[in-house]
């Protein structure tokens, strides 16, 4: 091992049916180093990590860990944990119907003398841990009562709490807001001072430069290079990841500010609400308009969209779609009116894991036609191929099960599902989360293009720059209520101050 390295992986190879996911990849991590592992979707980042943690069995290569003689093969994550490697995955792997404390201590619960779980001690320890990390969480409540972001933080807390030499964070920030990201960074820096090596996978470039000391770049399962942070400025990093020059994101910023007040209304909501999630709100969306929903995580952005779509049942007020008053009880009603909805929780509400990419793409289209009108197989194939090509979905074939795709590619399949229904009104809830820079730009372009075709969209994203790029106006949410709208010449500052609200006392 090189001196002061805590982890060294050499010549790792791994093949999935039809895909060489890793081809002779090296990876070195020093003590007290935060190293970014970068690459586009499907580059092999998660696979490399899973090889390290014993989830995947790699075919060739060696792994060395500081303090352990000889090369190591981890049989499973538990085994890896014992050797000091803790992981937080991209998709949260906790049990939603256990309490927070139980999730934190699963498999290592403090015991009483009788050998039963000492709940009081467990809850106390859990509460202390939450306090240390400055998280405001009641550890006795079920995990599922907390937002996706909070669940993510809890998953990280769990990993951090175990004695570890190497902490792996696989896109932990994709569902966190700025505040929470800052907390996470604080946590990472503290661990770094203690000599823990951290592998950090993220799609947010600015985060890389905010915390990392080094960058390792993968492309198509191969190592592009291992760099110090100073060596590799942003533009070069993007170029290394994509294998081409940086397609300037600013290019798609909408030039002129368009006035939509003359256009007919696609959506005219008055006083819609859903108890416990979103208070009564009004919202007008014109044809060809992209309306952004902004606010902190948990402010009710997704919830507002869900009520319009009927994913949550509306309990008050009226909704006019294309000028006519409509009642929407279920998503299928909304779809019949030309709506589509890409939910933010891809795993729970997006993908149908055991079905193929093709079946996942035609799913909504088929639902609209009804069970009796089966889309002929050759048409299904054509549609699937068209969108695999159009969105550059990386899949071995259209018959590959969607669960075998990387997260970003799964997202593209769900997007394809809705594009295939040719909607008049499309709701995109975090469509670019966990997606690489290149594809992000493609999706943003697509949104602008759909709007130019006269379609209306709701666009929800935690990234304000992205919102500024595609939205014509934004609705601002706070604490489960719509508190205002901004339009015209929107800037990062104007949006941030709208989110933060006027009654600040700084």
């Amino acid at each position: 091992m090189k001196n002061n390295a805590v982890l060294e992986m050499k010549g790792i190879c791994m093949t999935f049916p039809g895909v060489k996911a890793l081809d002779n990849v090296d990876f070195t991590l020093k003590k007290g180093e935060i190293r970014a592992l970068m690459g586009e979707n499907g580059a092999g980042k998660s696979t490399l990590i899973k090889c390290l943690t014993g989830v995947n069995k790699f075919e060739a290569g060696e792994i060395y860990i500081d303090g352990i003689e000889g090369s190591v093969v981890n049989r499973d994550t538990l085994d890896a944990q014992k050797k000091g490697i803790s992981t937080v995955y991209q998709e949260i792997n906790l049990c939603p119907n256990l309490s927070v404390a139980e999730n934190l201590f699963i498999g290592r619960e403090p015991l009483t003398k009788l050998g039963t779980v000492n709940r009081r001690k467990m809850n106390a320890q859990a509460a202390q841990l939450m306090k240390d990390l400055e998280l405001d969480i009641d550890v006795t409540r079920d995990l599922e009562e907390y937002s996706l972001a909070m669940q993510q933080m809890i998953a990280i807390a769990r990993a951090v709490d175990m004695e570890c030499k190497v902490l792996i964070l696989d896109e932990p920030t994709s569902s966190l807001d700025d505040n929470e990201v800052e907390k996470l960074f604080g946590m990472m820096r503290r661990l770094k001072e203690q000599g823990v090596g951290i592998i950090f996978v993220t799609h947010f470039l600015e985060q890389v430069y905010a915390v990392c000391d080094g960058i390792t770049v993968l492309r198509n399962g191969q190592l592009v290079g291992e760099y110090d942070i100073e060596e590799l400025p942003r533009v070069k990093l993007v170029a290394a990841m994509m294998g081409k020059d940086f397609d300037d994101l600013a290019a798609i910023k909408q030039e002129e500010i368009k006035d939509f007040s003359g256009e007919p209304l696609e959506i005219d909501a008055k006083g819609l609400s859903h108890a416990g999630t979103i208070k009564p709100f009004d919202l007008e969306i014109h044809k060809g308009e992209v309306v952004g929903l902004t606010g902190l995580l948990g402010s009710g952005r997704s919830e507002l969209a869900r009520v319009i779509y009927g994913a949550d049942r509306n309990q008050s007020g009226t909704l006019k779609v294309d000028g006519k008053e409509r009642r929407i009880k279920n998503p299928i009603d909304a779809m019949g009116l030309g709506m589509g909805f890409l939910p933010d929780d891809r795993k729970a509400e997006g993908i149908v894991g055991d079905l193929s990419v093709r079946e996942n793409i035609i799913l909504a289209m088929q639902a609209k036609l009804g069970p009796m009108k089966k889309i002929p197989m050759h048409v299904q194939n054509e549609i699937a191929d068209k969108y695999i090509e159009l969105l550059q979905i990386k899949t071995a074939s259209r018959e590959t099960l969607i669960k075998q795709l990387s997260g970003g590619n799964q997202q593209k399949v769900i997007l394809a599902r809705w594009l295939a229904t040719d909607p008049d009104f499309l709701i995109l809830d975090e469509p670019t989360r966990g997606i690489d820079v290149g594809t992000k730009t493609e999706i943003q372009k697509l949104v602008v293009q759909l709007a130019q075709e006269g379609k209306s969209l709701i666009f929800i994203s935690s990234e304000i720059e992205e919102m500024l790029r595609v939205c014509n106006k934004m609705a601002v949410l706070r604490d489960g209520a719509k508190v205002g709208e901004i339009s015209g010449n929107m800037t990062q500052e104007s949006v941030l101050s709208a989110i933060a609200g006027g009654d600040r006392n700084e």
Binding site: A311, N330, P331, I332, M335, F341, P343, A348, E349, G350, I351, V352, G353, D354, L355, E359, L363, A364, Q366, A367, K368, L369, G370, P371, M372, K373, K374, I375, S397, E399, R417
Partner: protein, 356 residues
């Protein structure tokens, strides 16, 4: 297309192997017995009808096969099993005979004695079974009761209700027009024909409509299916209703075999065979993807085991023990860790081949 065929082949691989295994055991017995004629596969005509062990298995296995069709859908959509099908068979049989003979009548043998026409009795029997299925479906889909618990109600109540309909008696319908469904149509046993029709109709429905996708999608991810426009409750209700329909048909066939509503015995424990058939067919009892062909092969495999045991002189009382042992073996072969083991072995072998 080629790839698709490959996948289905793989899914059916183990169920077919299990089936062949049972047959081989039979052949082995024939050899041990010095039976050069291989009685097991022999099919002959006796008294104008087909005769032979294979024919017998296909004939006796009809009810299990018909039940397995509905059970496959229920398992797929709701990740649970319908344990009431055996009792519902009895209910259908009881209803049918009671309608034909009239309430309180024990036996009819001429047209003049009939309270209602035979076709009417059969329709009533099947209708009540459909109703029972819909009741199960309602409890599971709309009341969100666990399938096992929901169907437990009719598992015990349907048979009791059947007995009530028959006024606590065995009602006989000694008429050829009724017996025909459990005996022969020309040289072929009618149950085989009925099972074949049921299989063909369901297969056609699944091929020419999108119901298969609907059911599997709901079974795999209910929430995602809802967002994509499926009404999962309705789909689950439909699956249970179809399961009831098939239980009704199986009930009529079973009743017709003994031309009487022996409600205490019709379909007794058959739900277990039906569930096993689905599992043997390589379908996960956790719901989601299903394979109808697998379930059908599974059904006849179970019947083949039963028939073999009885033919070897194992008494009806002891047969379940042997059956259990054989089924454990077959299920273990299909268990994921074992499959993994074989997959790895073959992967290693092919890797060696490549290296050479």
């Amino acid at each position: 297309m080629n790839k698709l065929r490959n996948i289905t082949k793989k899914q059916l691989f183990l169920p077919i192997i299990s089936m062949i295994l049972v047959m081989l055991i039979n052949v082995l017995f024939d050899i041990i017995d010095g039976n050069a004629a291989f009685d097991f596969f022999a099919i002959s005509m006796k008294n104008g009808v087909l005769y032979g062990r294979i024919v017998d298995i296909l004939n006796r296995g009809s009810e299990i096969a018909i039940l397995a069709l509905g059970m496959t859908l229920v398992v797929s959509a709701s990740a649970g099993t319908d344990i009431s099908v055996g009792s519902v068979m009895s209910l259908a049989g009881g209803m049918c005979c009671m309608m034909i003979a009239g309430f309180g009548v024990t036996s009819v043998s001429t047209v003049a004695e009939l309270a209602h026409p035979i076709w009417f009795g059969i329709v009533c029997g099947i209708l009540v079974a459909i109703l029972a299925g819909a009741f199960n479906g309602f409890l599971v889909a709309y009341m969100k009761i666990q399938p096992m618990v929901a169907t437990l109600i009719l598992w015990s109540a349907a048979r009791a209700l059947a007995l009530l309909l028959c006024n606590n008696m065995i009602v006989y319908v000694r008429m050829d027009e009724f017996k025909v469904f459990g005996s022969f149509l020309g040289p072929i046993p009618t149950p085989i024909i009925i099972a074949a029709i049921c299989i063909a109709v369901l297969a056609a429905v699944l091929k020419f409509t999108a119901l298969g996708t609907y059911i599997q999608s709901v079974g795999i991810n209910k929430r995602a299916s809802r967002i994509a426009g499926f009404n999962s409750a309705n789909i689950i209700l439909m699956c249970y209703t179809i399961c009831g329909l098939f239980a009704g048909i199986a009930g009529i066939v079973n009743t017709s075999r003994i031309y009487s509503a022996d409600t205490n015995n019709i379909g007794l424990n058959l739900e277990m065979d039906a569930i096993l058939a689905v599992a043997l067919g390589g379908n996960s009892l956790g719901g989601g993807k299903f394979n109808l062909a697998g379930s059908i092969i599974g059904a006849y495999t179970i019947q083949a085991i039963t028939t073999t045991l009885l033919a070897r002189g194992v008494s009806t009382a002891q047969a379940p023990v042997f059956k259990a042992i054989i089924i454990i073996l077959i299920v273990v072969i299909q268990a994921p860790p074992v499959k993994e083991f074989f997959k790895k072995r073959s992967a290693r072998k092919s890797a060696v081949k490549e290296a050479v």
